[in-house]
């Protein structure tokens, strides 16, 4: 029976990258690593969560004594001196493990608050441990609960929904304007790093076609190939304004490349279909007067940065909501675990006392001789109520979720001894 739920690990806040990389467990190493942890004495179940930001060993064990051997094993595995490693490690127990895992899977402990990838990484760690048969009942329940809570946090708070980088902010705005980006066309003017990144994100979102115009036609062709798009000359920009839905400008030109008259004509040709213009260049390439034209939405680099900053602030606000959900869920899960753990002992206890009651009752009835049905019922009720009253406090104590795990285990053993349970 596992008495201890423990987590030994380090993350981007507690350890520098050179320590993290030495302890990192790749996907291929998972099976062997889990087998090593599981073979340590006293460990019933184990799982490893290893990402670029954290390496954590989660175990259920017979006692907390296993912490020593886990730290030694990590130190040996990473080739980091034990004293050095201890400076970066955190060791969590029982309820803190639940809270930590719920927070991690929900993205609340991530470098970028609310980032969604971590949810998938926790799930992958669970599946990997499950495949290696490294989990016991306790860890299985913990991981299932972790993924349920993470989903709940994301659904109820929407913490991961808002972009916190400039390129993603552009994609988010494009989605706010067009909804589905599949089937849309984009025009990329210039080949700045940020515009490339933005185009890449938009392309991943399912754009139909990207046209690239650059001062160097060769560079335009290279970029177009990368996005499976088409290179165009600067002279062809205006006709493409009429067919493209998104324009990303990032040229080195010291003047405006797109003027209000261009957009006016394009919108007319587009039958007033919306046009989204993103100006990532400094000095700006798109005349800001275009922002006042109906049907055209113009965002420059500062606007996008403001969107990203506002989203970061929004995520922080949502994190407060998320923390409340996590706290509530930890409490619920802890109560459920305690009750579930206590059930076998309670059932055995009830069966043992019922067996004594019915046996003694039969003996008594034989001695009494014939009695009426009402009298028998009264005696039955009396003995049953006595048994229930005797059991009341032991059951209450067994279900007490506020007690520490080792206290509960000690109580369970004591009760089993007193009542002579196997």
């Amino acid at each position: 029976m596992s008495n201890a739920l423990l987590l030994v690990g380090l993350n981007h806040r507690s350890a520098p990258v050179d320590v993290r990389e030495r302890l990192n467990v790749s996907e291929e190493q998972q099976e062997g690593t889990l087998a090593e942890v599981k073979s340590l004495p006293g460990i019933d179940g184990a799982a490893m969560l290893s990402t670029c930001n954290r390496v954590e060993t989660i175990v259920s064990a017979t006692s907390e004594d296993v912490i020593e051997s886990i730290v030694n094993w990590m130190s040996a595995r990473g080739g980091v001196g034990r004293a050095d490693l201890e400076k970066h490690l955190y060791i969590l127990r029982y309820e803190d493990v639940m809270k930590h895992l719920f927070r991690v899977a929900s993205g609340l402990d991530s470098m970028v608050m609310g980032e969604p990838q971590i949810g998938g990484q926790v799930r992958a760690a669970f599946l990997s441990a499950q495949r290696c048969q490294a989990l016991d009942g306790m860890l299985e329940r913990l991981f299932e609960e972790t993924m349920r809570v993470a989903k709940k946090v994301r659904t109820e708070t929407g913490i991961g929904e808002h972009a916190v980088s400039v390129p993603y902010a552009a994609v988010e705005l494009a989605r706010k304007i067009f909804g589905e980006l599949r089937g849309l066309q984009a025009l990329l003017l210039g080949a700045g790093e940020m515009s490339e990144l933005t185009a890449e994100h938009l392309n991943t979102a399912g754009l139909k076609q990207i046209f690239v115009a650059n001062r160097s036609h060769e560079r335009a062709q290279q970029l177009a190939e990368r996005f499976h798009g088409q290179a165009v000359t600067f002279e062809e920009i205006e006709p493409h304004l009429a067919t493209c839905d998104i324009v990303i400008a990032s040229t080195a030109a010291p003047h405006f490349v797109i003027e209000p008259a261009h957009v006016d004509r394009a919108l007319h040709a587009r039958k007033m279909r919306t046009l989204f213009l993103i100006d990532l260049s400094v000095p700006r390439n798109i005349n800001p007067a275009i922002a006042s034209i109906e049907g055209a939405y113009l965002y420059n680099i500062d606007d996008l940065q403001q969107v990203a900053d506002a989203n970061r602030e929004l995520r922080s606000q949502k994190a407060e909501q998320a923390e409340m959900i996590v706290a509530r869920e930890v409490d619920n899960f802890r109560r459920r675990l305690v009750t579930q753990d206590a059930v076998p002992t309670i059932v055995e206890l009830q069966q043992a006392l019922e067996s004594i009651r019915s046996g003694e009752l039969e003996k008594c009835l034989r001695r009494l001789g014939p009695i009426t049905a009402d009298q028998r019922e009264a005696i039955e009720m009396l003995t049953t109520q006595m048994v229930n009253k005797i059991l009341h406090y032991p059951i209450l104590r067994l279900k007490d979720s506020n007690a520490e795990p080792h206290e509960r285990e000690s109580l369970r053993q004591t009760i089993r001894k007193i009542f002579g349970l196997r």
Binding site: T155, E156, T157, G158, L173, R175, K176, I177, F178, G179, E180, K271, M272, R273, T274, A291, E294, G295, Y297, Y299, D303, Q306, V307, A310, Q317, K318, Q321
Partner: protein
Amino acid sequence: MTPNLTLYIALGFYAAGTVMALVSLFTREMRTQHLGLGLMIAGWLSHTFWIGTICVRTGHPPLTNLPEAASFIAWTVFLAEMVLFFRYRVHAASFFVYPLVLMLLTVTAVVREPFAQMDPALRSGLFTTHVFLSTVGVAALLVGLAFTALAFVQDRALKSKQRGPLWEWIPSLDVCRTIGYHTLAVGFSIYTLGILAGILWSYRTTAELIDLRVKQIGGVVAWVLFAMLLQSFISGAYRARRTVVISACAFVAILIAMLGIHHV
């Protein structure tokens, strides 16, 4: 009409659902928004039961006077909202549609008129068609107005680069525009057919094409305004402030037409 228990239950649920939706606007909690939707659905089921009761008692749909028509429009508006919600997941529409449904059913509960048994002379298929199509058309137009408002709010937020409180709840501009345009187009077609059926029925019964009372004037003015609104969607001018003015006027005209409904 004697409002009975199921009507008040529906009203209670609608009120609670509307409050929850408006609370979610400030708390930004999806759970509160979903709770609001759940309460509104409970109200709608109770509302459906009440409409069924009237049908059984009078032998015809509840469309013969103002409270009944208001109730039926509220019922249809929420039905349309549910369909659109489950198709597009537009949460923001709740901030417009729920209060509208609540307001319409409050009219039903407050304006007490006896259950109207339809005059046998009016029991023609043409009259029923007129009332039914007009009511359904108005319901669709009201939903269309709600989405036009959402499209406008979204457009302003994108233009000004200032997120309002509705930013998170409103879907993309294109989705708002598409739903707004489609519901207006469908609603306008049905409403037009309803008006034509009414004119024909009026001609058959009174030998007059139109009787210039508040109801008819309001109805025709609303029809013209909705035609202008639809045209602005087709031309792409729906983003202009003019559209908001037309929408507001169309809403008022529809309300006037509805308030003009008396016993037939």
